[in-house]
Symmetry: C2
Subunit: 469 residues, 2 copies
Amino acid sequence: MDPFVVAGGDAAGLSAASKCKRESPDRDVIVFEKGQWVSYAHCGTPYFVKGEVEELTNLVSLTPDDVATRDIDLRRGHEVVDVDDAAKTVTVEGPDGQFEQAYGDLLLGTGARAIRSPFDGLDLLGAFTLHGLPDAAAIRAFVDASFDPHEAALGPMDPATLDRFANVPAPEAAAVVGGGYVGVEMAEALTAQGLDVHLFQRGSHLLPPFGPAVGEAVADELADEGVTVHTDTAVEAIEGDGRVERVAYEGGSVSVGAAVVGIGIEPNTALAEAAGADLGDSDAVAVDRYGRTGVDGVYAAGDCAESRNTVSGEPTWVPLGLTANRAGRAIGATVTGDPTPVGDIACTAVVKAFDLGAGRAGFVTEAAAREAGFEPVTETITAGSRSGYYPGGAETTVTLTADRGTGRVLGASVVGADRAAKRIDTVATALDAGHTVAELERLDLAYAPPFSPVWDPILVAAKVLGGSV
Amino acid sequence: MDPFVVAGGDAAGLSAASKCKRESPDRDVIVFEKGQWVSYAHCGTPYFVKGEVEELTNLVSLTPDDVATRDIDLRRGHEVVDVDDAAKTVTVEGPDGQFEQAYGDLLLGTGARAIRSPFDGLDLLGAFTLHGLPDAAAIRAFVDASFDPHEAALGPMDPATLDRFANVPAPEAAAVVGGGYVGVEMAEALTAQGLDVHLFQRGSHLLPPFGPAVGEAVADELADEGVTVHTDTAVEAIEGDGRVERVAYEGGSVSVGAAVVGIGIEPNTALAEAAGADLGDSDAVAVDRYGRTGVDGVYAAGDCAESRNTVSGEPTWVPLGLTANRAGRAIGATVTGDPTPVGDIACTAVVKAFDLGAGRAGFVTEAAAREAGFEPVTETITAGSRSGYYPGGAETTVTLTADRGTGRVLGASVVGADRAAKRIDTVATALDAGHTVAELERLDLAYAPPFSPVWDPILVAAKVLGGSV
């Protein structure tokens, strides 16, 4: 049988390759990765910038040697540039030129990239996007005066490429453009590095998919920690003479020596389009419940592909780490003859902002739920994280949204300083089950004074919302 | 309409009374409580003994004044001693003698009591059971030399009743008999009070309902904190001359100045039996899914009543706080004409042991699952609580049990030092949904480096067990 070929050696690609090899050790598996890094933790990069993670190589889940031990043929510096689905071959560009590789099954795990538009000034020294380890290393070298690239464990990176960033005085202030995960995490990281941080968000709230209750709580927390939060503020340009000197926005400007732009990512779909695969409304690759594109033998997974929304049943694009790993693993099983669904997504996400943790799942805001065809009703409550008399608890705010007609739970968010974020897993599980608010209210969740009040905050929200559905 | 009468003013009784009054403000609601304390947190008593909760009154959820504000007619010092279900009256003994009270609906919320057998020596000074606030106050007065009952907020307790315990030198060592929740929590509490603690468990593991992986982890944690853990050791007597001097067990004895016996509780069912209600196989009061006994208009809830097991569908008796509150609240709605199920229980429980947290739900051990009619298969895995590179994580051990034929999840336990306990809520929710292992494995649980690895430990367990079902 022709090999299982994977384009892209990150979460989806290497999960698929590993699972395939585990289930069918005799099947040849080839992974082409255009860069030098494989299987690394995007989500950990802000904590490397912060200095909480010391070495860049700490963020690597599997080294090339680990991959080799799994008998996977990993070719770094090789990019798949075309697909001939009739011949079942891919065209690969590598250090020694271009060649054809036959495949039996093909997985497109080409990931996503940071959106660079619509600013001028992204080419100035001190202006960054954050998507991948080289970006993280550059930012760390630029903002952390104590970071010496020639002393650090940088894996395949040449420390000399970082000298441009390391050999200038560290800035005293930075702008973070975009109030999503990356923006919030970078605001924390740069503050921890001693910079005065200005966070710019075009909309009225940070973290829009988490809903206003979380957005406001996180904005308050950032402000308490010294971040200047500019909401309803569109950045117009990053300016300076060779190096970032200021950020201009509607009605003003602020002097900063660095700017990190985290306004979103977009899927890498050129290869999928070359293969003849369809894109969905989200512009990511459309796939069925097994991760199959419409092209025979061609799968897509990870940040380049859509998923099916647990709540609406509709395709959606929410590129996150578990989704990529899970879909890759499922496709790795499917190509060995064990058809395995990639799984729907509840769009579950959690984020840390200094001492706060926040989580979200499903459709949190009424606007989002209405757009998906529901008639939403929503309540926001605040309850303790532990029994009131037990020390160490903190207020926990839950927003719960349900469908008025059916009572079905549509989504929730949670935020608080004491173990709030992972409480969202209860809702993610209930969404998967299609639970109503009444069923959610009757869940037998864990209670003991150090961990929860008798009524977990999720149950309190269900009790209150239960009166309205 | 005749009043809604409640026998017992704790979690179930006052939840029912409050809900009934909220939904039907015109309905008369009378709560008879034989003691002086109402609506207090049993589960918090070890933390009062430990000194982490300063005042006994901190453990009260609703004061008598709060109850009065809700327009509930609360009569403390009144015990319901008989029920005439034909006449729909109860016989009440109060400070002014005995009287009859008519009821429209009657809730039996008579709770449970500590098992005192089978030891000699429980009448010695320094020997205690722990069930209720007076017990907690007595133990605190006995072991904490700095605790002055005449300075403390003791609510309705007369400080003079504690002088017997306070006016003797505090012991240097204590025995805790029983390795369940109360035993483990009291071992921590008494250690924190500076005592050398010996914990005795008749069986081979602490916390048997949590399974051996948790039992061993908790035993190791207790030992690390200085507790001497005696498993497979049956205590034979508490001995001494007027005051506890030692505890004798098979093959030896140990000198201690205090002994706390926490070998379990048993339901208070005398009143239910007087009413003609049936008991179940557990010897607690049998009820239907609305909390109704077989006697017209008579309900039972809380620690005296059975519940329906989510997994097996069979009656079970697991007296815990949320179950009581939830059933009381549901019955309070039902008696106003809004029939509300009390809810099944997943037998979810969590417990703290020093720095460890542990949780359990459903049928954890193969023996328990087999007894319930399943063909169990089980796996125990250990995974990180956070991304490996992110500081502050800890090993998290999960035992997951499923039914071989159907793949249905039957139960799980989890233990670890970093936010492990509440991860059991995911399993409690999945049990309620009837999820299979494959469905559990595909849940979209929350991932971000500070909170979870990409694959939450629950998902890791599902992945591993998935290969066996």
